[in-house]
């Protein structure tokens, strides 16, 4: 993981994360970005359940391009609020989207089209705060967003990047196709033959995938269909800890900065209690 982040997520990069919405959020990769003190990132995603909030609070972010940033079961994102309202730990720029428009922006980039016209967002003031949404007659032009890298957590992958993911996929496909390259983190690293038996289910062409990281439990506390339930209590504890800047810093130290890797992290939670046993 450390190598993948070091090589493919430089300072200033545009990074798509959490593209399946609530499930399959690559928390382990996000925490490694924080440990490596990346700076000036642009984060791209639909809704972000706590991970964007953590990266913002850790000072890694210069701009957020998203439809929603917070904590899905608990509400507001406290680090996001501090950054936008008080510039703490640093001021960030926000490019507002809706869920539909962020998907269209990524499809536009995936198809190498400058924009996609749509009827959504007509009448919304989001059009006044995001320079990448413009009005053309009675349609909205959603301008393309091309991430430098998309980080995607999946259930199964082989060493060449042939991935199978299941459950709802959100904007994962367009994010991966739009991005210059994809980092896959996976629950199971398996042999190519079992995956290529079902080529319709391969998520991305192997030419897009720059790195594959075997990282079981790498999406905790978000759910992974067939593997783990969502850890609602962990999200609740993060929301209450991050209410103050000091509380957030203590949380970050305990769960990210003082932890060398994901296996150490997993040894500090009861991951077995979340495991799905009946597939």
């Amino acid at each position: 993981m450390a190598q993948a982040i070091e090589r493919f997520v430089p300072d200033g990069a545009t990074v798509a994360l959490g593209t399946a919405l609530e499930p399959l959020i690559p928390f382990a990769a996000g925490h490694e970005i924080i440990r490596q003190s990346r700076r000036d990132l642009e984060l791209v995603g639909p809704i972000s359940d706590a991970l964007f909030d953590q990266l913002i609070g850790a000072g890694c972010v210069r701009r957020v391009t998203a439809a929603w940033v917070g904590n899905v079961s608990e509400g507001l994102g406290h680090c996001y609020r501090r950054a936008t309202e008080q510039g703490v730990p640093r001021a960030i720029e926000v490019h507002d989207h809706s869920n539909f428009s962020i998907s269209l922006a990524l499809w536009a980039a995936a198809w190498n089209s400058p924009y996609i016209p749509t009827r959504t967002l007509l009448g919304s003031d989001i059009l006044t705060t995001n320079p990448n949404l413009t009005i053309d007659g009675d349609l909205v032009r959603v301008h393309a967003i091309r991430p430098d890298v998309a980080i995607v957590h999946v259930q199964r992958c082989d060493a060449e990047g042939h991935a199978h993911a299941w459950g709802p996929m959100g904007i994962t496909e367009e994010a991966g196709l739009a991005a210059a390259r994809v980092i896959i983190t996976c629950e199971e690293l398996v042999d190519a033959s079992s995956l290529l038996k079902h080529p319709n289910r391969i998520l991305f062409p192997e030419t897009k995938v720059a790195a594959v990281v075997h990282e079981p439990g790498g999406a905790h506390p978000s759910p992974v269909q067939g593997f783990f339930q969502r850890d609602h209590g962990f999200f609740r504890d993060y929301a209450s800890a991050s209410r103050t800047r000091e509380g957030f810093e203590a949380w970050l130290k305990r769960w990210v900065l003082d932890i060398p890797d994901r296996s150490t992290y997993l040894s500090r939670i009861d991951i077995e209690a979340l495991r799905i046993r009946d597939g």
Binding site: E22, P23, H97, N99, F100, T120, T172, E174, F235
Partner: protein, 258 residues
Amino acid sequence: MGDPYTPQELMVAVASREIRDGDLVFVGMRLPILAYAVARNSHAPAARGLFEVGLMRDKPATGFLGTMGDPPNVTGALWATRMSNAMALMAQGEVDLGFIGGAEVDRFGNLNTSYIGDPHRPTVKLPGSGGGADIAILSRRWVTLMSHERRRLVDRVSFITSPGYGDGSPGWRKRSGLLGGGPVAIITTLGVLRFPEGGGEAYLETVHPGHSVDEVREMTGWDLKVAAHVSETSAPTDAELAAIRRFDPEGFWTVTKA
């Protein structure tokens, strides 16, 4: 009847009654997930739910849902797909009813979930649209649920994230190119505000048991119009309460935390 219930349980029951049998419902988060489950178990057994994460289902999930993307909502789904496919159906006018949460709503049903104060230097940065703006613009009709406070029910929102009837002038939505019909109701902790056929300004339709018209008007940030005959909101039935408690056994969504 007669079992005590929480304000959230009443809101869920009232929201479920907005779902008509056979509706394709864009379900959203929190209380509407429960409202969908209640409706399916009572008057709308042929309704289908569509979730922007990329799911369609008929039967409600059997396990507790903290989010729409939780594994119990995927098990037994009719379709697990990408978000743009769910949005495609809504863009085609196939979604009959959507639910949207809001921080602020105004007399014309416009929702703000983005900024309180100047967007460049906000007093409060709210999480944003999510799929809210898309639902407000594209679904055939929609409903919002909100805690009834003067700071939330305001004369005009300062930022329209999800448009209702805009400036309230007749035909605003059509003139602005919005496909769907707009909001039909605001369900609050005190009562139900309804919009006239064809849109416009919200008026008080029913008041929840234990509350008065005066109290509702006092807690509303504009001079709220009142229906000629305001009735009392029907309390949740035993069947509705049983369904709510089955899908939210620990009161995660329906019991106010101290």
